[in-house]
């Protein structure tokens, strides 16, 4: 991908790799941690943990329902638990199990879904999670984190294990631009303003933060001064940051690698409507599945590139 290169961003490892490495660190610190895999550990990078701590690693086969149930039993008997798979299979194929045996009992289980969004590319729609944020945020008691780059994924991984209760961490397949340095200040529920601006705020998560930064750069050339906010925690949302953005800039555009329904945009609209109504625009996948293709081609075809944000910003500003 070339996203962010023209504004000087360099590429780091995929967020799933950053997760995998951090998981290994957590595993070294916390002897009580066990990891459950649905036979995709080489893809989700839980394999890094397995290679170090095989006795605390369980591969229950290609069976996501069973993955969650097993995780729940391990937790109920006192273990700290991480369960992982592709985001689409984890959330979609085991949702009832997550509901009943993680969210409802408020189990201290961490879930990691890799291969989120359409930027996975060539494998196509069956392997793309484009509805997982809606599914995860609809679960009472859940925390949902969508980090933007490798350093913040590392920080998020450590932070989620410090937090009591169920957490869903969403990572991606491809290499992505680096936004933060290794010792960033990352707190669950606290958005990070990655660029200040006064005309409009772009609130994004995951890969879309880098894309929003590039959009903001283009906009600045037109004299539009856009604030960019990394809303890495999609649940609970940072209400203060949203209200401040609405107040300071009077207009908001959200951007996410997810369908428009039930995602970051819907959540932000909720907060805005309740506290500070301002015009909004939404960048996301509009009621369609994607297809196979190169990540960047897909992002372009399905309306998730910097230009799409730029256009949405222009349209939204007209309503200000």
């Amino acid at each position: 991908m070339d996203i962010g290169k023209k504004i000087g961003l360099t590429y780091g490892p995929p967020t799933r790799n950053a997760f995998g490495n951090a998981l290994k660190e957590v595993g070294a610190q916390n002897q009580n941690l066990v990891v459950v895999d649905g036979d995709v550990g080489n893809s989700t990078r839980t394999q890094y943990f397995r290679d170090e701590f095989p006795d605390r690693f369980f591969n229950v086969g290609i069976a996501e329902s069973n993955l969650i149930g097993t995780a729940s039993g391990l937790w109920a008997s006192g273990k700290d638990v991480l369960a992982a798979s592709f985001a689409c299979f984890l959330l979609c194929n085991a949702y009832d199990q997550i509901r009943m045996s993680i969210a409802f009992p408020q189990a201290n289980i961490k879930l990691m879904g890799s291969h989120s969004g359409i930027s996975i590319g060539e494998d196509g729609p069956s392997q793309m999670a484009i509805e997982d944020i809606a599914l995860a945020t609809a679960l009472p008691n859940f925390t949902v984190i969508v980090p933007a780059d490798a350093p913040s994924t590392k920080a998020a991984t450590h932070a989620m294990f410090d937090r009591e209760g169920p957490v869903y961490l969403r990572t991606g397949r491809p290499k992505v631009p680096v936004l933060y340095d290794e010792n960033l200040d990352f707190n669950i529920g606290e958005a990070i303003q990655v660029r200040d601006g006064s005309d409009i705020s772009i609130i994004a998560c995951g890969l879309m933060v880098a894309i929003a930064l590039e959009a903001a750069h283009t906009l600045s050339e037109e004299g539009i001064d856009a604030r960019v906010i990394d809303m890495h925690t999609v649940k609970p949302l940072d209400t203060d940051a949203i209200v401040k953005a609405a107040t300071d800039t009077g207009a908001i555009v959200t951007a996410e690698e997810h369908v428009l329904e039930g995602g970051l945009g819907a959540g932000v609209a909720h907060v805005v409507a309740r506290h500070k109504p301002v015009p909004m625009g939404f960048v996301g996948i509009d009621n369609t599945y994607a297809e196979s293709g190169k990540p960047e081609e897909l992002l372009a075809k399905y309306g998730l590139m910097p230009e799409d944000i730029v256009q949405k910003v222009r349209g939204t500003l007209k309503k200000k």
């Binding site: 229950v60 329902s65 069973n66 097993t70 729940s72 009943m100």
Partner: protein, 308 residues
Amino acid sequence: MIKNNQSDQENIEQLQKITKKLSRQIIEITTRAGSGHPSSSLSAIEIMVALYLGGIMNYRPDEPGWPDRDRFILSKGHAAPGLYAVLAEAGYFDPEMLLTLREIGSPLEGHPNMRVLPGVEASTGSLGQGLSIGLGHALAARVDGRDFQVYVMIGDGETNQGQVWEAAMTAAKYRVSNLTAILDYNKFQQTGSVNHVMPTLEPLVEKWMAFGWHTTEINGHVFDDIFSAIRNAQATDNRPHIIIAHTLKGHGLSPFEKDDVNRKHGKPLTEEEKAQALEELEAYSYDQKITSFEQRPNPNIEPPERRQ
């Protein structure tokens, strides 16, 4: 390990008495609540009584989270009234509380909720999930070097759910010998008999054997059978064990018969039906050979186009 071996005659008579008392409670509290699943509770009652009150399970009602306790997971969560009656009798809470079944604010919810009722090991009610949860407990024992036992009760209809077979295959992979499943083979699901809804549940023993489990088939209302099956389960090494317990949905009490081919499911008895059921229960003798072995579904019936 079985705590102590109470299979002598005196103890069994005592357990039969307790069973009658708890059966009465199940019928009473569901009729009182106006909803619930008494018939599904009654088919499993002797088994739960044996586990909790027959000296099989190790547990501490005053320390429900005791790490070395044996675990019992009611995967067929709708049999909650039976579990509650047993937990009360075991000392987890005052039996008076049974009267609050399904009332708002009560920890005795329609289906077991582990967050509100001590003694409940898993929140169930969506069928198919308990065996995976039991596997998780069993693996935790291995990781932590503990030797507690895990018992999971599943319904016959519940085994329609694929997750049961996922868990079965994986439990055999991990050779968790501390995991025992108990299948309440009462021959009825929600909309009809197993023979109508899923006759190909048979051959049942062969299925579990092919999934790598040790199996024992018993009459689930006979304490001697239950005790020897549990002993069997714990004698076998390196494999999970399933006890296939032939039972009667509604315990053979006539008010639970619905029509020729069905039993009441998820319906409490009316006051009149209750009176009748309690009377039959009173007269009920364990010398009558209660069994439903002979009702085994026939997987070789004609294509069920006209049935359902």
